[in-house]
């Protein structure tokens, strides 16, 4: 299976669309860094000015941790689109190009082909999150250095000391990988059903957007729907920046998202293993 995974990774990283994803994240990270270099002090002052009457703020609040935290907040909406660009193409792209015929008439089981493609998709997702961490947290720490992380909550303000932050980021990025793996699995499922990559990209984004909207409509029967929307758990990484951290909620979200990944992959496998290849 290692051979097929390496082939699939080679195919992914030979495509321009793969670099669109990395390029967009790189650009986003750099723009936020520049904006913070120019307007960062003003942002911190604006966020803390109401509290300055009661508290005295001492230390470097404009630091790499803050940049990393701000960029992580963009994850739910923007990164899924970049992931579907690649994951939505993984199977449908073979159908469009007519290369299913070459691939599936080789002495490799369909289960192995599917698993290898999915693992390659997960590796791409992991690398994208890792790159996100590098351009936000990594470059942020290089440019702005370390310091306390100030987290603004609607009801309170959380200030985390610099030696208490890194492990939270590590877990948050791993969680981000898990939640984005649900997007990968969903796009992969849609990709297995059609012969054109546009469909899976649009369908996955439609699901994410609809679920996000439904999750925000907190009335009537919709509030009973909320626990069943996977998007509802995708922001649970935020709890890692509470003090103290509610790990039970974090672990519950991890389990639900992992079940989604397994369930979506299971459905894809079930449909794909006996599907007639007519392209």
């Amino acid at each position: 299976m290692f051979t097929i995974i390496s082939i699939e990774l080679y195919k992914i990283f030979r495509k321009l669309r793969t670099y669109i994803s990395f390029g967009t994240i790189g650009l986003l990270g750099i723009l936020i860094l520049i904006a913070m270099l120019v307007e960062g002090k003003g942002y911190i002052d604006m966020a803390t000015h109401k509290l300055k009457d009661s508290f005295s703020f001492v230390g470097n609040f404009l630091n790499g941790y803050l940049i990393g935290y701000l960029v992580l907040n963009t994850l739910t909406i923007h990164i899924p689109f970049l992931i579907t660009l690649v994951a939505g193409d993984m199977l449908a792209g073979e159908a469009t190009a007519g290369t299913y015929r070459l691939l599936l008439s080789r002495p490799v089981s369909r289960s192995n082909v599917l698993a290898s493609k999915f693992i390659a998709g997960l590796i791409f997702t992991f690398l994208l999150i890792f790159f996100l961490a590098f351009v936000s947290l990594g470059l942020g720490l290089i440019v702005f250095g370390t310091g306390e992380l100030i987290v603004f909550r609607p009801e309170n303000l959380v200030i985390l000391t610099s030696n208490d932050v890194l492990w939270r980021f590590l877990l948050a990025y791993l969680f981000a990988f898990l939640s984005m793996s649900v997007i990968t699995a969903l796009a992969f499922l849609f990709s297995s059903l059609v012969e054109n990559a546009i469909g899976p990209i649009v369908a996955t984004m439609a699901v994410v957007i609809v679920f996000l909207i439904l999750a925000n409509l907190d009335f009537g029967f919709l509030k009973y729907l909320k626990p069943y929307l996977f998007t509802n758990y995708m922001t649970t990484w935020n709890t890692l920046f509470d003090n103290p951290v509610d790990f039970s909620e974090f672990i519950k979200a991890c389990r639900i998202l992992a079940l989604h990944v397994a369930g979506l992959y299971g459905v894809t496998w079930f449909l794909f293993r006996k599907r007639d290849i007519l392209t």
Partner: protein, 314 residues
């Protein structure tokens, strides 16, 4: 006339495939023997590509059994596919990759030698060695067809399945593919399953063939036997077609003679009767300019498929 040692390489029994309400393949039985160049003929939509897709596990039969190398395809898919090379319909590749890289990827998937030497050797066989490093998107249709054959050969398979390999090629390209098939069969001792609707191609390279229509077998047997089983259609050019028709009908009342124009007759006759007909006409004072056999696999094929439904075995 089965292949050299009569070992069945492909054994298909009662194979059917239904897509919703359409029965694409209907109870097909085929036997291909080791060493055969087996022609698989039928008009468009006859079920040829569906059958080939079933042979390489791209689609799954609704009914029936496929045995290849004596083993059930359903239970021994990987063992069998390791020993099969196939082109299924038009040759598509990873267009942004070079021919070399495409073959390397496909060879690795087949678990075979993908050294530079091996890949260049195969590209040389199909005449693409000098374009090994070109991206496939720069290839002409003919070059893609040849690369299609290269990918089918990369893992040195015993059975080669070619689905309309000359489609879209110019006459030289068609001849090249034909020569390659003959080389693979006679020099490398490969068994070849050749699907085509260019029937003349099959006539030139195949030793055995089957004709199917609407998913059913129409006829199966050796190419020579099938062609000789039928009397020859000939066109005779003479100085006076009307008088010649009268002469022939009076001497051979059983002959069906049609006058095509003032100087041409068309008739159906056994090959060994042609000299006699010529003698009758010449002895009666008619001038015979030419006797041209019009029989071909094309006409034979059309004749059979028009009669669709009658199953023959030779």
């Amino acid at each position: 006339m089965p292949g050299v040692d009569s070992e069945k390489v492909i054994e298909i029994k009662n194979l059917s495939k239904k897509f919703k309400n359409i029965l694409a393949v209907d109870g097909l039985d085929i036997n291909v023997f080791r060493g055969d160049v087996f022609g698989f003929l039928g008009p468009n939509g006859a079920g040829k590509s569906t059958t080939i897709r079933m042979l390489v596990s791209l689609i799954f039969p609704s009914n029936g059994e496929i045995k290849i190398f004596g083993k059930s395809l359903n239970e021994n898919k990987n063992f069998i596919l390791k020993r099969i090379g196939a082109i299924v319909e038009k040759p598509d590749f990873y267009k942004t990759l070079t021919a070399f890289k495409n073959l390397e990827i496909l060879g690795r998937l087949s678990g075979c030698d993908t050294s530079k030497k091996r890949i260049m050797e195969i590209l040389d066989v199909v005449g693409l060695a000098d374009r090994a490093k070109s991206k496939v998107k720069t290839y002409s249709h003919g070059m893609k067809q040849r690369l299609g054959i290269a990918q089918a050969l990369i893992h040195d398979p015993e059975l080669i399945i070619l689905d309309e390999p000359t489609t879209g090629l110019d006459p030289q390209g068609m001849k090249d593919i034909r020569d390659l098939i003959l080389h693979l069969s006679s020099e490398l001792k490969k068994t070849i399953f050749l699907s085509s609707h260019i029937l003349h191609e099959v006539q030139l390279v195949a030793n055995r063939m089957i004709i199917i229509n609407k998913g059913k077998k129409i006829v199966e047997g050796s190419v020579n036997d099938l062609l000789n089983a039928k009397s020859l259609e000939v066109e005779i050019k003479v100085d006076d077609a009307g008088k010649s028709e009268e002469i022939l009908k009076s001497c051979k009342p059983e002959l069906k003679v049609n006058q095509l124009n003032e100087i041409t007759l068309k008739l159906s006759v056994a090959e060994n009767e042609i000299p006699e007909l010529n003698k009758i006409l010449v002895d009666a004072g008619r001038q015979v300019f030419s006797i041209v056999p019009k029989n071909s696999l094309e006409e034979y094929f059309l004749d059979l498929t028009e009669k669709d439904g009658n199953v023959h075995n030779n």
